[in-house]
Each structure stands twice: as structure tokens, then as C-alpha cells.
Symmetry: C2
Subunit: 352 residues, 2 copies
Amino acid sequence: MSRFWSEVTNALSPYVPGEQPQIENIIKLNTNENPYGPAPGVLKAITEQTTGDLRKYPDPNAAALKQTIGGYYGISPSQVFVGNGSDEVLAHLFVAFFKGKRPILFPDITYSFFPVYCRLFEIESRQIPVNDRFEIELDEYAQENGGIIFANPNAPTGIFKPVDAIESLLKTNTDSVVVIDEAYVDFGGQSCIPLVNKYPNLLVVQTLSKSRSLAGLRVGFACGNAELIEGLNRVKNSFNSYPMDRLAIAGAIASFFDDKYLKETTEQIIYNREFLTKGLKKIGFTVLPSKANFVFACHRQDAADIMQQLRERAIIVRHFDAPRIEQFLRITVGTYREIKLLLAALEEIVGA
Amino acid sequence: MSRFWSEVTNALSPYVPGEQPQIENIIKLNTNENPYGPAPGVLKAITEQTTGDLRKYPDPNAAALKQTIGGYYGISPSQVFVGNGSDEVLAHLFVAFFKGKRPILFPDITYSFFPVYCRLFEIESRQIPVNDRFEIELDEYAQENGGIIFANPNAPTGIFKPVDAIESLLKTNTDSVVVIDEAYVDFGGQSCIPLVNKYPNLLVVQTLSKSRSLAGLRVGFACGNAELIEGLNRVKNSFNSYPMDRLAIAGAIASFFDDKYLKETTEQIIYNREFLTKGLKKIGFTVLPSKANFVFACHRQDAADIMQQLRERAIIVRHFDAPRIEQFLRITVGTYREIKLLLAALEEIVGA
């Protein structure tokens, strides 16, 4: 608190990301990072750009990256927006489409940055409870709104909503923008991007931080109708002309040119997820059905206590001290070895 | 325009950065890029970070970079804020300190992103005319305000205001935040950073894009009282947890460990600036006294016409079609060779 802060700054409760502890040999399963590195071609492309040309600004429009993403998904580059991580993309779309007179709708349990953007940009919202199985009930979004946003697979539950269910929502909700945050869609879900030509109010957001293993490079994107993308560009160009640096653009482009690597690593993570899920169930955990690179699980033993005991064994998982989910742990799907060590530690802790 | 855009998005007139033409062998003197590359240690540091570790998020707080910048300027890391280019730093500070009930003050001629931020964040402003010599008259800022911001050296004039004049302003203006954008200060100016311990309402913004030749990497920072920095962190953490990627953090840190290179290249640019200034005056240009890596010059011949004729010769300079300065050209200080080619072309064009 300071007399120099604006009112809105005083009122903020910022999002708290999972910690990045600087401890060697820690098993870090708290921020849904990919246990495998980025595709080899990505590192090569970045190294090739690490030259004296860094003295020059990047392309403010990142046209080559938009061309690549458009080509990959079979849409026009004018239907693609890119930003400094999907968080920046999300922030801009809240300003571009959600800042209005009617409240926006999102689930009570979803990515916890959404209410933070509402506070920052002074946007009204209404939270729609997920059902007892933690599923989003799309029927309940059929009400007056200034926009709808949720993650699919949802965070931190990992539960995936089929595309046809979302299409039903789009058929009835035609007057406001519907945003699907598909950060985790490549781990067994199905993208709504093919629907953007059909529904001018659909915006699909993705990140390169998860399936493409580039959390350290900060690249996210959105696909939608060209008019929506133009709205995002207007906000972006009033905020920061060059959010994507030369190395991020080069690395991001290269990541779309090795589908074999993407397929192999995501399939390995899906395999590991099933191994983790089975192992957790065996020692008494309830595990929500996940299509993400994490699972959301609870036990009759207290979640915060389990997290603390794991921490003492140098294993970090995520716990949200929030209503309805305070007895759950969000556990990133790591390598086979990491999962084995985690399960062994949990077996000791819960005394199974 | 779209029915899905928010009112604020409809009302935006985004900042237009200098173009980045994809033409080979062009002489590009339009975006104030450094003609010399970044220090060799910077490229080495980035290459060392181009590993599988890009799968992991960067430090959201970029603590190592704040430590480095703090050490360089003799202040605490808690007095340093970093962001994705100084434009992002500026955007956040408009929200953190300027979004209030009273209008902020800035010169009528200064960085043209300032009025853009005002529109994006719905902040009232009052523009104070620079005098007939294009100098900022600080006495005229002694009026009720919600904040003061200007560039020093100013953009696009290049004119530098001595630190003691700014200190006089700080002594009387104690109730609002005063921001000095020092993007170009290393080319012969003097920084206000040493004053941040004395004036709790002073914030100094710098960039690595100009003197440190890292426009392609996107790094900017602000120095000020720890309470101001905390305000910036609150806004940043409500917008994007990880704006600085791993490569940008590594490269930025390395740039503070080769002062000899910084000194040599900035001195060369200062030398080139004097050569350019003399050459321009010789063919009839009026040149404002610059402490930046550009000069602002006018001729009795029409500025837009000169710009167009230079363009036909593959030389790009910047022209602002704005009141009071529409007869000026902003010319980046390039290499000795580039300046010679520019002067030869101008001599032809103005018929001197």
C-alpha cells in the first residue's frame, strides 16, 4: 500500500504462479511443465538467430509466426494473434472483448487468473459453479452475459468438455465472445480451432508452454475470426509494439515443424498420466478424469498436509487453498521415474 | 470496428512503430536501432541458455536480473522492476500510478506512446507545449496533476534536460509520481537514477534496446523507491506472471558485464552524431541539439518530400505527421558509411 498507487492497484490481489524453487534434484510437479525438452529443431532455430541482428527490433506483427500457425491449423494468418505467453493473450482479450456493461461468465473452478484480470481491468463477472463431479455445465451459461470463458481441458481439474457440447453453446450464445483456453488440449483433448470459421464470436487460446515444452520462451496465441484478431491487435498495439522477441519468434516457428516429436512426447505423457492415475487410485486417492498433463486428486488425508510431507521429501506439487478444492492436489505428469518416486513417497505418507 | 469489440477498443488509435521493411541492403535509419551489435558476452550467455531447460518457466521475478541492475546502479534489487521492453514497463506504470482522478502532464512533443496509454487505460491528460526551441519548460509543470512523464533526452527532439533542473521539479512536485523515460540517456546524457533514494515519487525507466543494442530481445526496466516497484509488481502479476523469457534474462544480465564495450560503442555513436549533424547543417538543415542516437532536423524543402525521395534511394528515415513537427525528420545515427551515403543522397535531393 502506498499513497502513490492508483485505486485499482490498491485493490489488486495478483495471481500467484507455482513457485520456481532453486533447489537441485527437486522433483518439480507443481507448474505443469513438460518433462521432456523442446524439439531439437527449436534449439537450433534459436541458436541461428543469436547474432548481431538482435540489435534490430523484431517484426512487430510476427507475420512469419502467424503464417506458420495459420498454415498448421488451416486458417488464414489474419485469424491468428500471438503474444508473450498465453497469459498476455488472455489479458488483452479481456480488454478487447470483455470490458463492458454486462458481467462475463466463467466457472467457479477454472484458471484462477480470470478473476485477476477482472479486477485489473474493472470487469464484472459471475461465476457459474461446476457440478458435483467438477464438470462444467454449459446449459447454465444460457443467460445474459458480456462474454464467456473457460479452460478446456479445465484447470485445475483436467476434465475435458467435448467439442460438440461447446458447439451447442456457440449456436445459442451469439451476441458475446466465447473464449476457450486450450492450454492443455494436446494431451488427449480436441481443439475448437476448426470451428472459428463457423462462429465469428469464438476465440481459441493456446500456449507453447505445455505440449511444445517452451514455458521458458513465453509464446501463446489465439485463433478466431479476423475481426476479433484485429481487436486484439488494436489493444496489443496500444500496449507494446514488440511483445515477441526475435528468439521467441524463431523458436516458436520451429516448434510447428516437428509433429513427430510433438506426437511422441505427448503420447508418452498420456501414457505416464495413466500410470500415475492408476498408482494414485491404488493408494486410496480419488482422481478426476484428466485430459491434461496433470491430475487433480484427493485423499481422506488432508491435502495441505500431504503437500507439506512431499515437500520435506523434495517433491513439489500444487495445492490451492480455495473453496471446494482445498482437499485436492494438482500433480504434474512427470517422467516415469519421477512418478515412481512420487508414488513411493505418497505410499509412505498416506500409509497405504 | 466490430460489434464484439469493447467500447475502449473501438476508441483506440494505436501507436505505429517505425516500419521494419524486409528489403535487403536498405539503409535503415528510422527506428533508432544501434548500428553495432550487442556485446559478444550477451550472445554467449543466450547460447548457453538455449537448452532443454526452456521447457521450464523462467523465474517470474527475474531476481538475478534485478540483482544485476541494482548492483550496476548502486541500488537495492527491490528498487528495480523489469519488463518485456520499456514499453511494457511504461504501460504498467500508467495503470499503477497514473490511473486516477487528476490529469497527468506530459509535453505536447514527446514519446507518442504516452497519449496511447492514456486512451487504453482511460486516463485524463494535459499536454504542456515545449517552447519555441522545442525545450521542455519544467516551470510549467508546477500545477495540480495526477503524475508527470517525459522522455530525457526527449523524443523525438533529442534535447536533454539537465538533472538539476529535474531535481528542482521533484522538490516542488511531491504528491504525484514523476517518471523520466531515459531510453536514450547513455548517448551523452546523465541519468536520474541516483536521485531515486532521495525522492520517493521518482521513477526512472530505461531500455536495453538502444545503447545495449538489444532491441530484438525486448528488455526494459524501471528504478525507483521500493514502494513504487511493489506497485508495478502488483500490476505485472495481475497481467502476466512471466513476461521475461529465460533467454532475455540471460542476455540482459550479460549486457551489464561489459562496460568497456558499452562505452566504446556509445562513444562511436556520439562521434558519428556530430559528423551527421555537421553534414546536415552544411546542406542547409536546422538540427536540434541531440544527446540521443538520432537527430531531429528540418530544411526549407518539405520533410515528407525529402523522406519519400530518400526512400526511393533505399534510405529510410522517420517522419511524424503531427502538429509543430511535420517539417522535421528523425534520423537515426548509423555507421560512418551509412551517414556518408545519407548525406550524399540528401545533397542531391535538396540541391545543395
